[in-house]
Symmetry: C5
Subunit: 155 residues, 5 copies
């Protein structure tokens, strides 16, 4: 089996280098070839991701950090729809790793959340590519990337 290729796309708009955290994590988990691209904002992520997938990447991680204003939420919505359409046109996964500025109250907390979420999604990427059965073992268990897991419903 040839080495898997994982695309990494992030933005200059984001305020934390999530891509680096995810790449560090991925390298510890498995041997994959990484191809990194940076675009200005989250709405530029879909096409850059699609170009990488069409160019041979097996999966792309797309990182973004939308601001807290309503227009930022709308941009994130548009970007997410674009990422979903890009996946449907390529039949490959794009793992969206978005952290919203209002998910934490201090810069420090937001950076830590972004770092953890990037790393936990890197683990999801590893599982999708190499260990899909591990994901099924976690099905319905309330995983929350970057935060405390919600856990399964208590009955």
């Amino acid at each position: 089996m040839s080495t898997k290729r994982v695309g990494i796309v992030d933005t200059t708009f984001a305020r934390y280098d999530m891509a680096r955290a995810a790449m560090e994590e991925l390298k510890q988990l498995c041997s994959v070839k990484l191809e990194r691209r940076t675009v200005p904002g989250i709405k530029d992520l879909p096409v850059e991701s699609k170009v990488l997938l069409d160019g041979g990447c097996d999966l792309v991680m797309a990182f973004g950090m939308p601001g807290s204003k309503p227009i930022d939420k709308q941009c994130a919505h548009e970007a997410s729809l674009g990422l979903i359409i890009a996946q449907l046109l390529t039949n490959k996964h794009i793992i969206e790793v978005f952290v919203f500025e209002d998910e934490a109250s201090t810069d420090q907390e937001l950076a830590e959340l972004a770092d953890r979420r990037a790393r936990e999604h890197a683990r999801n990427v590893y599982r999708l590519l190499f260990k899909p059965g591990e994901l099924t073992k976690l099905a319905g268990t309330g995983q929350r990337e970057g935060g405390p897991d919600a856990g399964p419903l208590r009955r």
Copy 2:
């Protein structure tokens, strides 16, 4: 006629194993080949469903349990649009089985709702694949999967 293949896609984000309930129900109703995949979140459902449909599944059930925050509703909206587009690109049904966290007030109730909805939608899948006439007999009768049926309008 060859055995029908049904794809089952769920998430690690969900807090109840709806896929298992649906698979149990389906096995009691008919003989189908089941192919299960698990992805991290609901926005990963569309492409995974499409891959299964393009790979030969006749229909996919997609399970998700969005949280109660506005961003969760938006994610569900994006996932639903993706599922609809995936269907239009494959000309096959994806039965979306989503349970929103705020549809019930306790974990127990939410789990029971999720279980019933999964099972009742499994019956819909059975009908779509093998007994379409049964669905037409129920046309306009106010069916509500998982909850009490609304019933037809009283005149």
Copy 3:
């Protein structure tokens, strides 16, 4: 000219059998071949409609009755977008006949509204297929299917 084929797609979720009303009306207006399918909910309408159009139907009527909660409106929005995309992929019309539960205050009124809207849209289908000039005569006249017409602006 061969007989026109009209697809009829409705849901088990709806609380009134609009499809039957429309089919009755259509049969009185013209000779068409009707093909009826029933799906669980409105988000299942787009792909079923597209399958019928790709299978040779000249036009599809898609019936739905969304509930009154915000999530129901969102589902209707998603279904409508799917129906529009299905039309663009087939270059054929899908006449969407949706009645929202909060358009009337009693079951009786809602049923009557649904019945009238279904029948008036059947007349639109007849015109689209056989008498497009009749529609142009009504252009800009404020037609409202199922309710009192708004009429043209009074100057």
Copy 4:
């Protein structure tokens, strides 16, 4: 150069015959072949426009007059998205001419607004087809079809 063909699509839902106004204006400006179609509502505009474009029209004008209720705004949103997708699938322009019922307070004012907007957009169509340089001369000058122009920002 062969005569340009312009499609004209409007609705029976609208309360003013904007298509007629635009056609009058277009005939005064240039020699084009007009092909008019009328559909029931604005959500029927995208596919009818696409059929005309695929049939050889160089451009389509799509006229609609959404009501003032939230559901009407949602329908307009869905129609607009459909019109944009139809353009992307054909690489031709569809000039959307929508007038919202709540843009004016009396029938008389609304009719006058609709008439002016239809005519001014007919001029845009003329420019797009025959005088694209005239549009560039107007770039960034705050044109408002049907109303007083906003004009360029005063510095």
Copy 5:
């Protein structure tokens, strides 16, 4: 390597000639062939951009200045989605440069914001085409085109 071609699409609706500012900036940064088109409003940007990309442009800049009313925000949302879909269909970037009327309180400030944003996005275009590594150096640093940069999160 042949000269890169950059499409420039703007509107007559906008109240500032952002395209001119961006073209000036681009010419100072690099040698590219510019192709400018002007359309009436932002919803006309997607197809015009796609036509340019299909015609050989390597990248398009799309300029718009939505008004401050809710309907203007909705139009911007529709245009943004169209621009994203156009990119996915061509595998090329469209850099959206939108300035909302309510981003500044005076005409003077709005014009200055529009001018700066257009120029800073021209620099992004230069980097995407010729210096992608420069963008990666800026990854996660909180760049804000036209305004003061947010900067990276302080830890």
